[in-house]
């Protein structure tokens, strides 16, 4: 027994979790087995009134070990066993332990003679660990504003399947539990108490003592949960009560409408909630365990866990980092105090990095600093930032028009206008004043890095960093290696991204890098369809059904048709005769040049907007310029065109070695532009759909719409050999 420590204090047992080999406790098979044995000891010991379950670490624990779940699945599969049975067996064992704690040995009929269990969490308790807390009779949390409590499972492809779904609904009702279950909302102890997730918040030093005190003073009835007592009714009503009917009706429709029904874990959770609400607690838990097992069996869920949890973490922990000493940034010089520059300044200062914000005159630089202050004020208003923190963060930002101000900076992020000449001038002026070993990063979304590096006298210290807008909200950062970019620059950029708590992908230099390379064809495909007379509503709704968070014409309005026009013109100029025009060019030209419709920024694009900038309806005259065709394509074809426009570019990026690691291709696509998260990313999407099936779709679309849908050789090869992208490219040590 190495994961738990068992002690007693009078008639109270104290079971303390402290895994020797990990910094954060997680539920593993051993942990569960040992806890089970300790609980049995408590229940068998007549001298004990109950127990306190706590942790010796700063936090209670991070959840269930997802790697273990994958292992159970793999073992059962390789042994030829029944995978569903093996997984259900594991899930049910955890359920049984938690239920044993909850019943506390009370007589099933009289409900008498039960022992109480109190949970005492010093800090964070998430997922399967928070579900352990929910099974206990009273929950104590230490005063620890940094602690996070809740059930984030649904965000990574799962749902709370260790009793958490059933217990939370019985505690709070469907409406009360909705945010925690459907949004994976996490709260600090104070808010958890207000939300009735936690019973008491106590000083850190008194945590265990208070819990012990409660156990000593508890009554027999404290060991009986409300739902195990007579006359219990679910708050807000079960499905077939007048109030409950409306709640379930609304909850399902709202979820269905918002998710398009593409998330297996959400659907399964809703079924567990509905079916569980119709039966007693023990039956409800069994139902929840069955639905949870069904999610574990669903390849979409595995793909989500792989990208959104395992690989995202691996990337954030430096999977692609060259082996180099720590390159943490102390002082960053940011050139260009516009929206991007100010956003980068904000996230840097917030991470404790000193910022020198430079623009061509003091007023422009000050304006950038004022934008930082504005973002901080928003935080203050939402009570995420205190006035003291605001002052401290803002004090780190120095605004100046003098390049010499950057003489102490170890990293430069240049974020001036996207014009190679201006960028070259800035590069030269900056390198004249910064330390010789400083790294120079250029923030660009379209200009090749190798070309920009020509202006640098230290091209090995020159790198591209592509932030997404708005910087403070978008979590992906694309790091681009130019031909001569050295490892030290990559390490520096990665360490910087880690400091500002974003997720990096490292790609090689090519037109539009990775993200824009995939996004632009997606937006273009939608516009090509407009030019063909496909109903714009069908295009937009098809994208939503794919699980894209923002439909393509709407996204074009958001990023602006002006930008689209600029990219089109620049690409035409650069490619010359090699440029292949499409219907998208006609649409952009007509709307932007012909009608002055720039998108949301001027209140008119594919959509009309009201004075407040709220999106109204599709522009009614769109059909005048691009008449609606009598024959409309099948929904599936529209979906395939929109998804393949992105997926094929991701594959080509891999083929051309722009994308080095497919994990980055998938994680980057979800974080960067919201590529159908349910699929785990574009390459996972191919694996889920089946590479041969994808080749067949490509062939059909190529015949109808031309070579932009031709299956890349890499895809054809993988399909021909019966392989998958993850089968071929997933680094072995990180298999999930």
């Amino acid at each position: 027994m190495t994961n738990w420590k068992y002690t007693t204090e009078g008639d109270v047992a104290i079971i303390t979790w402290d895994m020797g080999d990990r910094s954060m406790n997680v539920m593993t098979a051993d942990v569960i087995r040992e806890l089970d044995a300790h609980v049995d000891t408590v229940l068998a010991d007549d001298s004990l009134k109950g127990a306190v379950i706590t942790s010796a670490k700063a936090d209670m624990g991070g959840g269930v070990d997802l790697g273990m779940l994958a292992e159970i699945k793999a073992q059962a599969a390789s042994s030829g066993g029944h995978v569903g049975e093996a997984l259900f067996g594991f899930v049910w064992a955890l359920h049984s332990l938690y239920r044993k704690i909850e019943v506390g040995g009370a007589d099933p009929k009289t409900k008498k003679g039960g022992k109480v269990f109190a949970a005492a969490t010093p800090g964070t308790a998430l997922g399967g660990v928070f579900e352990l807390l929910l099974a206990c009779h009273r929950r104590f949390a230490a005063e620890n504003p940094k602690a996070k409590l809740g059930l984030p499972e649904t965000l990574v492809g799962l749902f709370p399947g260790a009793g958490g779904t059933t217990r939370l609904v019985r505690m709070l009702g469907v409406m009360g539990a909705a945010d925690y279950l459907l949004q994976g909302k996490l709260v600090n102890p104070k808010k958890a108490k207000a939300g009735m997730l936690i019973d008491e918040v106590v000083p850190q030093d008194d945590l265990v003592a208070k819990a012990v005190e409660w156990v000593k003073g508890s009554a027999e009835s404290d060991a009986v949960k409300a739902w195990d007592a007579k006359g219990y009714k679910i708050p807000g009503g079960a499905p077939y009560t007048p109030q409950g009917f409306q709640t379930f009706l609304g909850a399902i429709a709202m979820t269905h409408g918002k998710t398009a029904g593409v998330y297996p874990q959400t659907n399964a959770m809703l079924s567990a909630v509905y079916e569980g609400a119709l039966v007693d607690m023990d039956t409800a838990l069994r139902i929840e365990a069955r639905w949870f097992t069904s999610v574990l069996m669903d390849p979409r869920s595995s793909a989500m866990i792989r990208s959104l949890f395992v690989n995202k973490q691996a990337i954030e922990k430096g999977a692609r980092r060259p082996d180099m000493p720590d390159q943490k940034v102390k002082s960053v010089g940011i050139i260009g105090a516009g929206m991007m520059g100010a956003g980068i300044a904000f996230v840097s200062a917030r991470a404790g990095i000193d910022v020198v914000l430079v623009d061509r005159d003091q007023a422009a630089a000050d304006k950038g600093r004022a934008s930082v202050e504005e973002l901080l004020d928003q935080g203050v208003k939402r009570k995420k930032v205190t006035e003291d923190q605001k002052a401290e963060i803002l004090a780190r930002v120095t605004a100046t028009a003098d390049y010499a101000g950057m003489s102490g900076c170890d990293l430069i992020v240049e974020a001036v206008f996207e014009d190679p000449k201006i960028k070259a001038t800035v590069t030269e002026a900056t390198e004249a004043v910064i330390p010789e070993d400083a790294i120079f990063a250029t923030n660009t979304s379209t200009l090749p890095i190798t070309g920009l590096a020509k202006a640098s006298k230290r091209p090995e210290q020159f790198i591209g960093i592509h932030f997404f807008s708005p910087v403070h909200k978008m979590n992906l950062v694309e790091i681009i290696k130019g031909e001569q970019t050295g490892d030290i620059a990559v390490a520096k950029a990665l360490d910087f991204v880690r400091q500002i708590k974003k997720t990096p992908i490292v790609v090689n230099d090519a037109r539009f890098f990775y993200a824009n390379r995939c996004i632009i064809p997606y937006l273009n495909e939608a516009m090509i369809m407009v030019s063909e007379g496909v109903k714009p509503a069908l295009i937009e709704n098809a994208a939503k059904q794919l699980g894209m968070p923002v439909a393509p014409l709407q996204l074009t309005d958001e990023t602006s048709l002006e930008l689209g026009h600029r990219i089109m013109s620049a690409t035409k100029a650069q490619m010359g005769d090699a440029y292949v025009g499409t219907g998208a060019d006609d649409v952009i030209t007509k709307l932007y040049e012909g009608e002055g419709r720039a998108g949301r920024k001027n209140g008119k694009g594919f959509y009309d907007y009201d004075e407040k900038g709220k999106r109204q309806n599709l522009w009614p005259d769109l059909g005048t310029h691009f008449p609606i065709a009598d024959e409309q394509p099948e929904l599936d074809e529209v979906k395939n065109r929109l998804v393949l426009a992105q997926v094929l570019e991701a594959i080509r990026a891999k083929e051309e070695n722009v994308l080095v690691d497919i994990r980055e291709g998938d994680v980057g696509a979800i974080l960067g532009w919201g590529f159908a998260p349910w699929s785990g990313g574009p390459l996972s999407w191919v694996d889920l759909t089946g590479p041969s099936e994808v080749v067949a779709i490509c062939d059909a679309l190529t015949a109808k719409y031309g070579p932009r849908f031709t299956a890349p050789d890499l895809l054809k090869d993988i399909a021909a050999k019966g392989e998958t992208f993850y089968g071929r490219f997933q680094p072995k040590q990180a298999a999930a």
């Binding site: 399902i252 409408g257 918002k258 069908l538 599709l618």
Partner: protein, 403 residues
């Protein structure tokens, strides 16, 4: 093959389906017994001759539960040897009872049936029997479930019916119903509801608003806009099923959709031989029956495919019908029927419909067959098509031919 004939048809007046409705004080069984006894008394019937009493009822809980048909048989004083069968096909239950009886007769399983339906919506609220398709995530998501009003609005959007189109249809329904009552066109079928002392409770359809005009309807708010566009947002679900639509145009409201009312209806159906044996005169032949399933999201378009099925199976064309009775669940449902078949409004619901007089769910299907029969007799017409849209995406139809 044996033919099935309608010998008689009766219905109660329709009471407002609220606490202040005249029939609110009458039990479902009393109302059902009223029509059963009327058939017996009007036809001087030895009830031992009846093979079965089939009653439609959509909300079979509480007093409408526990197999209401058998209880109604016992309460009405029919011979105890007559069994009872309760059936439910939502809004077409009353029609399905008639069709089932007719097809039993045609197949030789008994030669005399009572078929009809009852629904006391003021006493047993719609939906109180549970409705899993709305709240169980599996069927709800599989069927892209939205409430009927949203479905009616999808029909209006998809097939291009404006708010004015729907309101104009409603105004006409009110006008026709008022004129029909004025001319006593329902007199032959109406059985007044009286108390145990033979004191009158209700002798006319009380839901009607004869003065309804475009202006008065114009003031009503679209009933399903808020639930469609805001909470919980059913339109988003509708657009998943109908992605070619940009948005749902909400046009239906209380004034252009069917009224919630109380009432019952029953028909006496049997073979020619049974009629001869018992001295009953056939009034019409049940020429054809049909039912069909259709998309559950738009839900209420069933009258179109079920009529297409009737045309296919009978070899008839739409011009062969002298009369159409299409249940006015929502104005857009009937407008869609007229649009699909280019049907003449003059021949469709000439005496108004459920928008004016109300829609007692389990009974309406039987009522409209009776109404069609009276109208054919009045006008000397030959053949009528009766049809209803049905919840969860179904359609039902009965074709009757005067003899």
């Amino acid at each position: 093959m044996t033919e099935a004939y309608i010998f008689d048809s009766v219905r109660t007046p329709r009471g407002k389906g609220k606490k202040d409705g005249s029939l609110h004080e009458v039990t479902s069984l009393s109302c059902a017994s009223t029509v059963l006894n009327a058939l017996r008394d009007r036809n001087d019937l030895d009830t031992r001759e009846i093979e079965d009493v089939i009653l439609g009822c959509v909300t079979p809980v509480g007093e409408q539960g526990g197999e209401i048909a058998r209880t109604a048989v016992l309460q009405s004083g029919y011979d105890e040897s007559v069994p009872g069968l309760h059936i439910n096909r939502f809004c077409a239950s009353g029609m399905e009872a008639v069709n089932l009886a007719a097809n039993q007769v045609k197949g030789g399983a008994g030669d005399l049936y009572v078929a009809g339906g009852v629904e006391m919506m003021s006493r047993v609220p719609m939906g109180s029997d549970g409705f899993a398709i709305a709240v169980d995530p599996i069927p709800a998501m599989k069927s892209y479930f939205v409430p009927q009003g949203i479905s009616a609005d999808i029909i209006a959007t998809k097939y291009g019916f404006s708010r004015d189109d729907c309101d104009a249809f409603a105004v006409e329904s009110q006008k026709r119903a008022a004129a029909a009552w004025e001319a006593k066109r329902f007199a032959n079928s109406i059985v007044p509801v009286k108390d145990m002392n033979d004191v009158m409770i209700l002798d006319h359809d009380e839901y009607m608003r004869p003065g309804t005009d475009m202006q008065s309807l114009g003031g009503l708010k679209a009933s399903f806009q808020a639930m469609g566009e805001q909470m919980p947002g059913f339109d988003a679900v509708a657009l998943l099923k109908y992605p070619e639509l940009e948005k749902v145009n909400h046009v239906n409201h209380a004034g252009n959709s069917s009224g919630i009312v109380d009432g019952a209806a029953a028909l006496l159906i049997g073979s020619k031989e049974a009629g001869e044996r018992l001295g009953l005169k056939p009034r019409a032949r049940i020429k054809h029956t049909a039912k069909i399933g259709t998309d559950p999201t738009i839900m209420l378009t069933g009258p179109v495919p079920v009529t297409e099925k009737v045309l296919r199976e009978t070899g008839m064309s739409i011009s062969d019908f002298d009369l159409f009775e299409v249940n006015e669940a929502f104005a857009s449902v009937v407008l869609r029927f007229m649009q699909a078949f280019n049907a003449d409004h003059a021949k469709l619901n000439p005496n108004g419909g459920a928008i004016a007089m109300g829609h007692p769910l389990g009974a309406t299907g039987a009522m409209i067959i009776g109404t069609a029969l009276d109208e054919l007799e009045r006008t000397g017409g030959g053949t009528a098509l009766c049809t209803l849209c049905i919840a969860s995406g179904m359609g039902a139809s009965t074709v009757i031919e005067r003899v």
